[in-house]
Subunit: 408 residues, 2 copies
């Protein structure tokens, strides 16, 4: 049997709960979505606990699970994913932190956790602090979008089990504490980095200029979310497929890079409500020619969910439908197309929830179960049953005739 | 509550995918099968990942799982199962190999991996090589059907982690290599066995006679699939039931013996398309009088699947239906009857696939879920949901009022 290609489409946070004011329907049940429904109608359907029953997935842990990794085993903190997102290649033993550029007063009280959402100059600030050597450890720092950045500590004897420097609200900058004795050196190096960086940033021309403009200085770096990552077997290694991703958000791109996908830039893919759906469709189609596995993430529905906006969520679902219509028109029926979400973000909750997500898989000559619509309830009666996120990739591999036999 | 008897019927490879030329139906959806549908209609239904989601089951690993054993724990290779199949009782520390009688030329090149599919004389050839002592290890050899045989090495310091001697195609006979240092002795004993057996077989009267008839000599034994088996808790020990099996294929019989079932010979049960379904039904009925648990395997559908023959698969399903009709007419409604497959062998794939299999369980006063037909899609909407193979026996034990309480 010829192995088939796989397209995995994840509608970030699109899954929801029924809303009273909308006739007890979910946004997916209200949206006009012929293309999404066609995937359900021509395939098998189910629901999925992306991490496990009753666990609220983060977008990071959810995507690791969807790519076949047990997040309980490979996820230690968001640092390494952010590092991959900004393009720092992590090595074994490295410890990575998400960071904010922030503003502190003379007595090290945080007065603005985002340094006035600084937009320009962070690249120069990062240049000024990166490369520092402390106790034989190298501190690699790179700016992210706006006030964000990533710190990677590289050297002997590091351990990610340290507490955050970031107080997570206005107030005194915290000293990192080792959570286990093995992390004492890491905490000490981290605290020294924060101190030295503060000195350097205070007198940096970028901040001098901000002062003249009446803007809060980005005079401190606040690390949090320490994590390290072992030697991760990449998706190409595990599954023997050439893999690529279409995504707009740094976090998602970071995860995709971490697991060995090619992540081309898609102009116009913002990860926001204004994302260019057509550009994403075109890129996915192009990648399906050159790769075996293509992952496509659309973030916009999650944004609408966090905003608690039912109508915008419906309209995002309809935009995704148009995007999928474009794709389905062009691809061969042999491509296994999986459509799902990384988690629910119900408009009533305005946050991620533990509700399972709908899943539809069509194409590749697989089974067809009679489900007619892609939504939280219709899919639940399908032949896929209720699966776990970590089982999705093996199931897709099986449907694409790429699985391995165990036994004779 | 009186414990009930259990009948487990496994239709080897009957599960399939929809086929375009047959109106997008599977063979099970096309077949006329009132008896199989009656089991679905009077019971509860579901689908089953026999090993796990996205894993293609071998027939051997699948049956271990169906009997309640985690194949990842107990399965090391096919050797021990074949050994049980030919009636060699394995002891702890033994290493077993599947073997072929084959033909080699003077420079040890395999010219026929099956020695012209030798039919007669292998018993005499086996007698000539069995019992050899090498480095304190005893080599036990027994012929199987046609060109097949089994080698069991028995002695101190053996380890199954050695590579195959069989080149798996025409070409140079391979020297077994230890995969781990602990297997060095095993590899050395194995290579010596192959060498000595070659000398003995070359000059054996059976081969002299074959030469005069222009047939290729069975002048070498090619071991492969090394495996050992720990002390397996048998099904009677684990489940407290007297267990028996009706099966035609050596491999399946071997597994059944390995797990402690009685495996009477059934004249006419061939494991092929020509198997005597009526004889199997009669034997199953007889065993249900004397045993608590009866397992019935029908291999024929798998053969049709490997041949890619939709119509023959439909006809096998209908023969199985007649067989089950005979059985259902005779048994008490208190017998818990489970009907399922060990794996899918879709006619479109001509090989095992990872698609889950349908499962119907009726009788014993259990629940009834409204599913009307035994097929891949109908069963998926049943009350059993999607289960794993290793959970089947505990579920059947529960339905037969034979399960144990945990707690008070």
């Amino acid at each position: 049997m010829t192995p088939k290609k796989i397209l995995l489409v994840v509608c970030d946070g699109l899954s929801d709960r029924p809303v009273k004011q909308f006739d007890m329907k979910t946004p997916l049940q209200v949206a006009r979505k012929p293309a999404l429904d066609a995937i359900a109608r021509h395939g098998i359907n189910g629901t999925m606990d992306v991490i496990g029953p009753g666990v609220i997935p983060g977008s990071d842990t959810a995507h690791l699970a969807l790519f076949g990794y047990d997040p309980h085993k490979v996820y230690t903190g968001r640092g390494p994913i952010e590092a991959a997102g900004v393009g720092i290649e992590m090595a074994k033993g490295d410890v990575a932190f998400r960071c904010n550029f922030a503003t502190v007063d003379k007595s090290m009280n945080v007065t603005d956790r985002r340094a006035g959402r600084i937009k320009h100059g962070t690249s120069e600030l990062a240049q000024a602090v990166t490369g520092m050597k402390i106790e034989g450890v190298t501190a690699i720092f790179k700016e992210g979008s706006e006030h964000r950045g990533v710190l990677v500590l590289r050297g002997e004897g590091l351990d990610h089990r340290v507490s955050d420097v970031d107080p997570h609200r206005d107030g005194k900058v915290l000293a990192a504490e080792p959570i286990v004795p093995a992390a004492e050196k890491t905490a000490s190096v981290l605290n020294e980095f924060v101190k030295r960086a503060n000195k350097i940033l205070e007198s940096h021309p970028v901040n001098k200029k901000r002062a003249t403009e009446g803007l809060p200085p980005a005079n401190i770096i606040l690390p949090r979310g320490a994590g390290s990552i072992g030697e991760l077997e990449t998706m190409p290694q595990r599954f023997g497929m050439k893999c690529a991703a279409v995504a707009g958000v740094t976090l998602i791109k970071g995860i995709c890079r971490l697991v060995g996908m090619d992540v081309p830039e898609v102009p116009g893919a913002t990860g926001g409500l204004d994302t260019d759906f057509r550009a994403k469709a075109d890129m996915a189609l192009r990648l399906l020619n050159s790769h075996d596995f293509v992952f496509l993430n659309v973030k916009a529905a999650d944004v609408a969910g966090h905003d608690g906006d039912f109508r915008i969520k419906v309209s995002v679902a309809e935009s995704i439908d148009v995007m999928m219509g474009t794709i389905l028109k062009e691809i061969h029926e042999d491509v296994v197309v999986a459509l799902t979400c990384d988690h629910s973000t119900p408009v009533a909750v305005k946050e991620h929830s533990a509700d399972p997500v709908p899943l539809s898989v069509s194409g590749g000559g697989g089974r067809v179960d009679g489900v007619k619509e892609f939504d939280e309830i219709s899919c639940a009666s399908g032949a896929l049953g209720r699966i776990r996120g970590v089982d999705l990739m093996p199931i897709l591999m099986g449907m694409a005739d790429r699985a391995h036999k165990f036994g004779a």
